[in-house]
C-alpha cells in the first residue's frame, strides 16, 4: 500500500522568508504522480504544484518549487517570499499512474507571521 507521511504538523515562517515543507512516501511503483495541495479555511483544496516521477527536473510554479528525490522517496515543497495569503493547511498527495485513488498525507499547518 502506498502511504504518504508529513512529519511536520505545524510550521511557521516570517513574511517574505522561505519555508520548506517535508513529505515522504512509500511505494514500489516506478512511475507515479506527486502533488502539493493547499487548503485554506475556506476548505477548498487548491492544487499548488505537481510532479511526474519520470521527470528528473523539479517542478516550479512561481514562488513554489519542489525538491523531488526519487531514490529517497522524498517530495518537499519550498515556498519563497512567503505571503500572508500562503497561510493554510498543505497536503502532500500521491497517485499511481492509471489509478484514481489519490493518497494524502495528514497535512502541515503553515502560519505566516507579518
Amino acid at each position: 500500500a502506498q502511504t504518504v507521511t508529513q512529519s511536520q504538523p505545524e510550521m511557521s515562517v516570517q513574511e517574505a522568508e522561505t519555508v520548506t515543507l517535508s513529505c515522504t512516501y512509500d511505494t514500489s511503483e516506478s512511475d507515479y504522480y506527486l502533488f502539493w495541495y493547499k487548503q485554506p479555511p475556506s476548505r477548498q483544496m487548491i492544487l499548488v504544484i505537481r510532479q511526474e516521477a519520470y521527470k528528473q527536473q523539479n517542478a516550479t510554479e512561481n514562488r513554489f518549487s519542489v525538491n523531488f528525490q526519487k531514490a529517497a522517496k522524498s517530495f518537499s515543497l519550498k515556498i519563497s517570499d512567503s505571503q500572508l495569503g500562503d497561510a493554510a493547511m498543505y497536503f502532500c498527495a500521491y497517485r499511481r499512474v492509471n489509478n484514481n485513488d489519490m493518497r494524502f498525507g495528514a497535512g502541515t499547518r503553515l502560519t505566516v507571521k507579518p
Binding site: 484514481n100 489519490m102 493518497r103
Partner: protein, 114 residues
C-alpha cells in the same frame, strides 16, 4: 467558468439516518471523485465515477454509494449513518485523458452526525 460546486454546505443528521450529497463538476470535466476528510486528517478516497459508472472504489463500506448523471453531476449517498461518518466530504472533478489530469476540488459538505 464555474468551478466544482457542492451542496449543501453543511448538514446535520442523526445516527441511522440516510444522507445525499451533491456535486456539479467543473465545466468540461467528465469524471467525479469523492473524498472523506475527517477532522485533522487528509482526505481519503471513497470512489470515482465516469460515464455514469463507478470506476474505482477506496476502502469504504457498501453504506457509501454514488451515482453519476448524464450531465456528469454526481451524488454521494450514505446509509445507516454512524458517528464516525462525521467529516468534510469533498468532491473533485477532472477530465479523462492521457497523462496527469489534475483534479479540481469543491468547497465540500460538512456532515455532522449527532
Amino acid at each position: 467558468d464555474a468551478g466544482v460546486t457542492q451542496s449543501p454546505t453543511h448538514l446535520i443528521k442523526t445516527r441511522g439516518q440516510q444522507v445525499t450529497l451533491r456535486c456539479s463538476p467543473k465545466s468540461g470535466h467528465d469524471t467525479v471523485s469523492w473524498y472523506q476528510q475527517a477532522l485533522g486528517q487528509g482526505p481519503q478516497f471513497i470512489f470515482q465515477y465516469y460515464e455514469e459508472e463507478e470506476r474505482q472504489r477506496g476502502n469504504f463500506p457498501d453504506r457509501f454509494s454514488g451515482h453519476q448523471f448524464p450531465n456528469y453531476s454526481s451524488e454521494l449517498n450514505v446509509n445507516a449513518l454512524l458517528l464516525g461518518d462525521s467529516a468534510l466530504y469533498l468532491c473533485a472533478s477532472s477530465h479523462t485523458g492521457p497523462g496527469n489530469q489534475p483534479q479540481h476540488f469543491g468547497d465540500g459538505t460538512r456532515l455532522s452526525i449527532l
